[in-house]
């Protein structure tokens, strides 16, 4: 039972001052084992804050990040799942499932986490899942201003992952759940 937090596109301080207080109150240290960040934090203070929630932080570079040394993509294995992280501005068209699927095949991962569109989506593609946690601060994106703050918490247990989606809608935290089991799959290609 491993809890993995996935979030990104905070754009602090340029587009948003901070995480919504309701989110902040939920993110207490000690519960989460890993954090996956798609990028665009943008400053070091946010990085330090995330480190206090959980020391195991995986982060990829977004186009506005101050820190230039984050990698473009990252892969890690948790339980029986292989996770891949990428900010997503490199994949065009932005947010397009087929292009993201190519990236997923390229990284050879079961779960791909990308951002940049600031919209939460979760697609099932072949034997894997493509998740976009959205923007945790609700910062405006290049495409739209109408953004609800959201992030994702994954509970990975061997071959089963339960994805909890936390969204701030009209000032209230709404939590949804998505269940996904890894099929003993088709190692394609």
């Amino acid at each position: 039972m491993v809890l993995v937090l996935a979030l990104g596109d905070l754009h602090i301080p340029h587009r948003a001052p901070d995480l919504p207080p309701k989110f902040k109150s939920m993110l207490v240290p000690g519960k989460i084992q890993h954090i996956i960040c798609t990028g665009n934090l943008c400053i070091k203070e946010v990085h330090d804050y995330l480190k206090t929630i959980c020391p195991d932080l995986h982060i990829t570079r977004g186009e506005y990040d101050d820190e230039t040394r984050y990698p473009e993509t990252k892969t890690l294995t948790i339980g029986q799942f292989k996770l891949g992280v990428c900010h997503g501005h490199q994949v065009i068209p932005w947010g397009d499932l087929d292009s993201l699927a190519m990236l997923q095949r390229q990284l050879d991962v079961d779960i791909l986490v990308t951002g940049h569109t600031h919209q939460f989506t979760a697609y099932k593609h072949e034997a894997g899942v493509v998740i976009n946690p959205g923007s945790a601060t609700g910062a405006y994106s290049s495409v739209t201003c109408d953004v609800n703050p959201s992030f994702v918490l994954m509970d990975i247990d061997a071959t089963r992952v339960v994805v909890y989606v936390y969204e701030l809608v009209d000032g209230e935290v709404k939590v949804d759940k998505i269940d996904f089991k890894k099929t003993t799959a088709t190692t394609a290609h």
């Binding site: 039972m1 519960k31 699927a101 697609y123 099932k124 949804d176 759940k177 269940d179 996904f180 088709t186």
Partner: protein, 469 residues
């Protein structure tokens, strides 16, 4: 009778303890110490015991606690079969059975072998100190704590019942620590999932690898997500439990680090620590009001040690279950000391410390005045640990077992007896306390000097308000 000044018998040189270690041939005072086993204590037996015996007879008529013969370092014969306890500083001493001891032992054995054990008689015998041999202590403690009924015939059925009850508790509340998180949690989680799945939308058939399908989301009823801070949330409970378990594990590791029974990496030590941990976790879960408080491990340790060293194999194997129930019983009188909210109430620890203070004032006003008024040594600084941990930290392990014999067997009950013993501890070192200032007194009281336990218990006995039988 109102004692205005210090009574004569108290002023006798008998009761002053020896100043820091001198080689063991003191003729002037009888403060013989059953000290730590690293120093070999073989004082000249006959002369000392006869002189103190004669001094004893001049005292007032009270059942005289027989002077223990000099402590000789012997390996505990019981332990060699059960666990490799004693090496070096971890040795528990056994007193060389001499005449007096053997008679107490014989009497106890006789009492224990009756069909219906007479508790009153047992208490009287036990208060004189239970000898270490022949595995008497474990049975006597079990009887005194009410775990075993007085009727011998009922023993086996009671034991079976209680042991299976504990096993049931364990199964329900604990899981195998390796997969505790995943199993217990997964079990809860799948239960939640099942419950939620029934009430919310259908999931698509995942056997066909469909591409580009937006995964269906199901809404969660409030609180059932991992970051929930709600009190009723299963997840929140889980995280809180984990915190308590972590603290228990940490404290158990630190219990009696000098004793091989508890510390070290040997298989027996690890299994002993595991047992302590399980007992404390089960207790914390069954008592959500008080949970686990630091210090409970110290009260648990002597109980478990005694029961685990039972020469009867069957009992030693089930020591964990027996210890659990006895621990609950023992703690029932002292629970309020561990509850922070009750600190300032009539039953809390502060009230108990005030009672001790009043007891001291009643018996030895001069000392009381010197301590609390002149040198301003607040009794909380030293008595807190004495009372909450039932004196396990003030004396070495063997001595604390003897003190517990008296604590458990006294008719007045453990709370009253504990206060009398604490008072006696203060009175025994009164000379040094009266001569000291705040710093030295505090230092002395927080590191109580080794003393002759039987003297201590004798003095404590004399402090009874009602005449002893």
């Amino acid at each position: 009778m109102v004692k205005k000044s210090v009574p004569d018998w108290l002023n006798s040189s008998l009761w002053s303890t020896a100043p820091p270690p001198t080689p063991p041939n003191d003729d002037d005072d009888d403060g013989r110490r059953i000290g730590k086993s690293s120093s070999s204590d073989s004082t000249a037996a006959p002369s000392n015991s006869s002189s103190s015996k004669s001094a004893n007879t001049t005292a007032t008529v009270v059942p005289v606690r027989p002077e223990p013969p000099p402590a000789v370092e012997i390996r505990d014969p019981l332990s060699s079969s059960n666990n490799n306890v004693e090496n070096g500083s971890g040795t528990v001493e056994i007193r060389d059975p001499t005449g007096d001891d053997v008679s107490v032992q014989a009497q106890l054995l006789q009492e224990l072998s009756r069909k219906i054990v007479n508790i009153g008689e047992l208490r009287k015998l036990a208060s004189q100190g239970i000898p270490d041999g022949a595995g008497i202590r474990c049975t006597v403690w079990k009887l005194l704590l009410g775990y075993l009924p007085t009727d011998r015939g009922l023993w086996s059925s009671e034991l079976i019942k209680k042991r299976s009850q504990y096993k049931h508790f364990k199964e329900e509340l604990l899981m195998n620590p390796k997969d505790w998180k995943s199993k217990c949690f997964f079990a809860r989680q799948s239960e939640i999932t099942r419950r939620l799945d029934k009430s919310t939308c259908i999931e698509k058939d995942e056997s066909l690898p469909e591409t580009g399908v937006v995964l269906p989301r199901s809404e969660i009823t409030h609180g059932e997500h991992p970051l929930s801070l709600g009190k009723s949330s299963v997840w929140n409970q889980f995280f809180q439990d984990t915190e308590i378990i972590e603290q228990i594990v940490r404290d158990v590791k630190r219990t009696h680090p000098g004793m091989h029974f508890f510390s070290g990496e040997s298989q027996s030590a690890t299994s002993n620590r595991e047992a302590l941990k399980n007992i404390l976790i089960v207790f914390a879960k069954l008592n959500p009001g008080i949970r686990y408080v630091q210090g409970m491990n110290e009260i648990l340790a002597p109980l478990f040690y005694v029961f685990r060293n039972d020469p009867i194999e069957e009992n030693a194997a089930c020591a964990e279950a027996d210890t659990f129930f006895c621990f609950v019983e023992l703690l029932s009188g002292f629970r309020d000391h561990f509850c922070q909210q009750l600190d300032n109430s009539v039953v809390g620890i502060r009230a108990t410390i005030t009672r001790l203070s009043r007891l001291l004032k009643e018996h030895d006003e001069e000392l009381w005045r010197h301590l609390e008024v002149t040198t301003k040594v607040n009794p909380q600084f030293y008595a807190f640990r004495w009372i909450t941990l039932l004196l396990t930290q003030e004396f070495n392990f063997a001595d604390s077992l003897l003190i517990w014999d008296t604590l458990l067997s006294d008719l007045e009950g453990p709370q009253e007896t504990l206060l009398r013993i604490c008072c006696a501890m203060l009175i025994l070192i009164r000379r040094r306390l009266l001569a000291g200032d705040f710093t030295s007194n505090l230092k002395l009281l927080q590191h109580y000097p080794s003393t002759n336990i039987s003297h201590l218990l004798y003095v404590a006995n004399k402090l009874r308000t009602q005449p002893a039988r």
